[in-house]
Symmetry: C2
């Protein structure tokens, strides 16, 4: 059996520097099928608790968008080129049609097929398997809880639903088929589906966001990682503490649940290199007495 | 080094039947300190993404409560004794003072001290260590992001903040000290702190909820597990699918984010016995082509 390749799903999907390896499977990785799925998998894909959390985000997006289309906003929720999160300027809406922009993986769909395949084999992440998944996964991914209803509600009030994913442009047909088979309707590459390889930005979604905002008044953005909102969150010089500080700065805080919407995903993400000292500061160290 | 005892944190804190064992540490449990914390730990305790999600729930609670105190609600959000979630009746408010009821662990505080101690040693959960933690953990737990601000906002509008925890009544002094040291102010056992052993209900919080609702008009309830809202969610006859169906039924859906508030916790929970087939239905099985 193939051992885990030292790349994380976070690397591919978020474009973050990463050499961590326990994104999908439990660590330490053991050959053979673990008796129990890792807790992150159990929680996200199996629990009523996560189902409620995901549904709540979808309900909030639909409520917010339905409210916003009644007043024509002046600006998109997409940062203007060069604007920083802590001193934000946004793309103007003018008279452009409305859109909402979503990451795809673990934002519109749960990648159950590839996740099970890798996790049962103790594979943290394998880009070759993932490439095959992008091409052939249609039918084995699922719309997340409440997502089909949310997408339908947005379209019903005239909002175009756009996906901006780090799946590869070369696999566009497979990703279109996957979203359609999940019950989320038609996404068309270059029109409502933007992918890595569409421009020279690599895994940064900033350029694709700018392209979308040039055509649409974007009233909502959603993702499971901060790179789904601004590439500034993925800058390599940003320490974990500084990243949290930036994400909870007044300017960013004003956007969460008010134009920017974050789905829970404890299974993989750009945080997958965090170590013991990042999670447990020394003043929380404790021993039984 | 002591090996993991086959009990999960979910069992103690949620009172669910459970023999799963990978609640805190990664599975398979290995002796010695894993190189990397499990993804669930990295996400919850280290990521900006989880920080945003937790803060969003706290902001929502404060906004909701501030709005509710302006109109005196007719009913508490606590189910009347014997009432079922799918046909709910609620405790009347009459002229009782306002309160909000919170679970403690991973709802008001993150248990960093005990979690680090067990996870670094590959211990899934050890009730003796946890008992010592309840007694002596003050200072090594942290208020969750935005929780001190939320608690202060509630108290500022005259709402009593009550904790209803499955920590033990015998360890009340330690838990009072832990909440105080985390910056959450004073909780007093029997008045604003309700614990396992306060009544004959064991780990069911229903009896304690009824006791609280007899004294207070409870306008908000929050937790990280469904047992923090009704023991009906913990009935052993409830399959995972039926539990999700109950939690997303129209009556329950009307309460989420409208009186009942759920915090993300992928580290431990009553879902920790879910197996591969629970997460990945056969029609999502897939293999690389």
């Amino acid at each position: 059996m193939k051992r885990a390749i030292a790349l994380s799903l976070g690397l591919l999907l978020a474009g973050c520097a990463s050499t961590g390896g326990n994104s999908i499977a439990s660590a330490p990785v053991a050959p053979g099928k673990p008796a129990t799925p890792a807790t992150a998998l159990q929680y996200l894909y199996g629990s009523a608790e996560a189902e409620i959390a995901v549904r709540a985000v979808n309900v909030r997006i639909a409520d917010y968008v339905e409210e916003r289309v009644k007043q024509r906003p002046q600006d998109s929720v997409i940062l203007a080129p060069g604007a920083r999160i802590d001193a934000p300027r946004f793309e103007p809406c003018s008279d452009k049609p409305f859109a909402a922009v979503f990451d795809a993986d673990e934002t519109l769909i749960w990648n159950l097929g590839a996740t099970r395949y890798m996790a049962e084999r103790g594979i943290a992440f394998d880009p070759k398997i993932w490439d095959s998944w992008e091409k052939t996964g249609a039918g084995a991914a699922r719309a997340m809880p409440g997502t089909a209803e949310m997408v339908n509600a947005l379209r019903a009030v005239g909002v175009t639903v756009v996906a901006n994913s780090n799946r590869l442009a070369a696999n566009a047909a497979g990703s279109e088929a996957t979203l359609r088979a999940a019950g989320l309707g038609d996404f068309k590459h270059g029109e409502t589906l933007f992918l890595a390889g569409d421009d020279a930005g690599g895994s940064s979604k900033d350029g694709r966001r700018a392209a979308i905002a040039s055509k649409y008044c974007v009233i909502a953005m959603a993702g499971d990682q901060l790179g789904d909102f601004s590439q500034q969150f993925n800058e390599k010089t940003l320490s974990p503490e500084a990243r949290i500080a930036l994400a909870t700065s007044p300017a960013a805080s004003a956007l969460w649940n008010q134009g920017w919407f974050l789905f829970p995903n404890p299974v993989y993400g750009p945080w997958d290199r965090l170590g013991w000292d990042d999670l447990f500061p020394s003043d929380t160290h404790w021993e039984p007495k």
